[in-house]
């Protein structure tokens, strides 16, 4: 019975088949676009949802994480949660944590990464100090107690990478004129984004120091910028070079070996003397 339509495939039935196929393809295209929109929207990870240690960059993460929650189960501090639909921002079912609630305690054996069956949490991460969950930022200098000139220091004290990830920098207190301000300064090359500082900030409600994703928290230096006090060589390859000028009148290197006298003749006193082997047009002689 079921084979009957195949046996007598008339032009009509073939046309109907093609119509059905076209309709199905059209419906799938519409549904597919809706699904694609959902999938691309999901990449907009909210700034305060922090992925677990070793998480791949967001666009790779959504291809890798199967939302099994094994990382959540193996976190001894109940740091991680799976996002719930319509309640938290990350893609539904993907793991994240909120630093102000429960930060990552930076376990030495990184059980969350070990538990991940897919590598959405990169198994290449074996030293938790290399983790890069985000970057702490002292976001509210108007309320941070240290920035106001008091000695709170709590965020600094709790940092698992104290004195590397976060330091206290002594500044003059302009307001009192007589005291120091110990500014908490976070250093991006050591901060793991664990969120211990944010969790511990003594202010009620929001913390003055917050972990943000690096894509939000960090600017990027242009390729040719140099910090002169770190690198004495002012040259930047391919962009800034020493001027290509011939020695001669009007330049500042007349006294240099092989330089010229004001009348344009080579300095005879110069050891070895020097005669340019070419002439520049229109000067009647060498030099410019």
């Amino acid at each position: 019975m079921s084979a009957a339509p195949k046996r007598n495939a008339t032009p009509t039935s073939r046309r109907r088949f093609l119509q059905d196929a076209a309709r199905a393809a059209g419906a799938c295209a519409v549904a597919g676009m809706a699904l694609g929109k959902l999938a691309t929207d999901a990449r907009a990870l909210p700034a305060q949802a922090i992925r677990p240690p070793g998480a791949l960059p967001e666009e790779d993460f959504l291809a890798a994480c199967i939302r099994c929650g094994l990382c959540v189960r193996d976190c001894p501090y109940d740091t991680l949660k799976l996002a719930e639909l319509g309640i938290e921002g990350p893609a539904t079912g993907t793991p994240y944590f909120t630093a102000r609630d429960i930060p990552c305690e930076m376990c030495d054996d990184i059980p969350c990464v070990v538990a991940c069956p897919t590598g959405a949490l990169d198994h290449g991460l074996t030293n938790i100090d290399d983790a890069d969950m985000g970057l702490a930022v002292l976001i509210d200098e108007e309320h941070c107690l240290n920035a106001l000139g008091l000695r709170c220091d709590v965020c600094y004290r709790v940092c698992p990478v104290i004195d590397k990830a976060i330091t206290l920098e002594r500044r003059h207190n302009e307001r009192s004129g007589a005291h120091a301000i110990f500014m908490p300064i976070v250093h991006s090359d050591h901060c793991t984004g664990c969120g211990k500082c944010e969790k511990s900030c003594v202010l009620p409600g929001e913390a003055a120091i917050k972990v943000l994703p690096r894509r939000v928290a960090m600017a990027e230096a242009a390729d040719h910028y140099k910090l002169g006090w770190e690198d004495r060589n002012p040259m930047v390859d391919d962009i800034i070079d020493l001027p290509d000028r011939l020695p001669g009148p009007g330049t500042d290197n007349l006294a240099a070996p092989g330089g010229y006298l004001p009348d344009g003749m080579p300095d005879p006193s110069m050891d070895g003397g020097f005669t340019p082997s070419f002439e520049l047009p229109g000067t009647g002689g060498a030099g410019q």
Binding site: C28, A42, R67
Partner: protein, 307 residues
């Protein structure tokens, strides 16, 4: 049409075989569904961590990894090469379902099945029209669409909407508004399309169906000559088109239901009073003569009890 079709579905079977024999696979199936869900809930509810994770990926007794192969395939087309653990887990799951029937997942494990079964029960109770019935191959189109979207967006696309994981993960890890997806499926099956979700659209079912294409475990209409045309099997089967070729086949046609759409739910075995159906393997060659009678009669339209 036989006058027996007037009896409520399964009445005859209950009368002839007793209530238990007329419901055993239904009951076993509910027990299995509760068991598999319960295993996952032991941890979060009672602190007994035999099984961690959810249907997408899990770890049992800290040694046995299991991964949903469909989720992994989407990850692969989204160009993520997973760690070995996930691959091994998917292979184990894949091999098991390839042997026992891919859609065994649908009827014995999937937590959405009780939802759509409930919708179908209510649908019957209210006597609603069957509504929109998508074409047979629609689920494969949906499956293809999911893979294309996964590839284009570089994400595991179906997991953004999959009502199965919404429900399963929701029960285990916290639901949020994920129940809206479950309610949507229920209402869809109830008022838009009878048996619409599991029977026509769900790409997970389509994937598992393909996976179990050559499965060993099968239902066979081995005593088809004793069929008395009560049509109860068609009425209870969630994929009734799979029954016809086996039950109504000629002598030389196999009585084994070979369609990958059959979910091995065993409901047809339950409701058949003369015990036409039984579970067997695809290699079973027990002779099964076709029905001798009613050759001259007009054949029943296969889905006469459908609405």
């Amino acid at each position: 049409m036989s006058e027996k079709t007037a009896l409520p579905v399964g009445q005859e079977a209950i009368r002839d075989k007793g209530w238990w024999m007329a419901h055993r696979f239904l009951i076993l199936r509910r027990v299995a569904q509760a068991f598999f869900l319960g295993l996952f809930l032991l941890g979060p509810w009672f602190g007994i961590w035999w099984v961690k994770g959810n249907l997408a990926g899990s770890l049992t007794f800290d040694v046995l990894p299991l991964t949903d192969p469909f989720v992994l395939v989407q990850g692969l087309v989204a160009q993520h090469w997973p760690e070995m653990t996930a691959i091994i887990g998917a292979l184990i799951v894949g091999v098991v379902y390839a042997l026992i029937g891919g859609r065994v997942y649908c009827s014995w494990v999937c937590p959405i099945n009780p939802v759509t079964d409930a919708a179908h029960w209510l649908h019957d109770r209210l006597g609603l029209a069957k509504g929109w019935q998508p074409k047979r191959g629609t689920r494969y189109w949906v499956l293809g669409m999911v893979l294309v979207v996964s590839a284009l967006t570089g994400t595991i696309a179906w997991e953004f909407v999959n009502p199965i994981s919404m429900l399963h993960r929701g029960l285990i890890f916290g639901m949020g508004f994920a129940w809206t997806f479950v309610l949507a499926v229920f209402l869809f099956d109830l008022v838009v399309s009878r048996r619409g979700w599991c029977g026509h659209l769900c790409p997970v079912g389509a994937f598992y169906g393909l996976l179990g294409h050559g499965s060993i475990l099968r239902v066979s209409a081995v005593k088809r000559s004793e069929c008395d045309d009560c049509m109860d099997c068609f009425a209870v089967c969630p994929e009734m088109h799979v029954i016809t070729p086996a039950l109504r086949g000629a002598d030389e046609d196999t009585p084994i239901i070979l369609s990958p759409d059959c979910s091995n739910c065993g409901r047809c075995v339950d409701v058949c009073a003369p015990d036409v159906f039984k579970f067997t393997t695809r290699f079973d060659t027990t002779p099964a003569p076709a029905r001798a009678v009613r050759r001259n009669k007009q054949r029943q339209p296969e889905a006469s009890r459908a609405a």
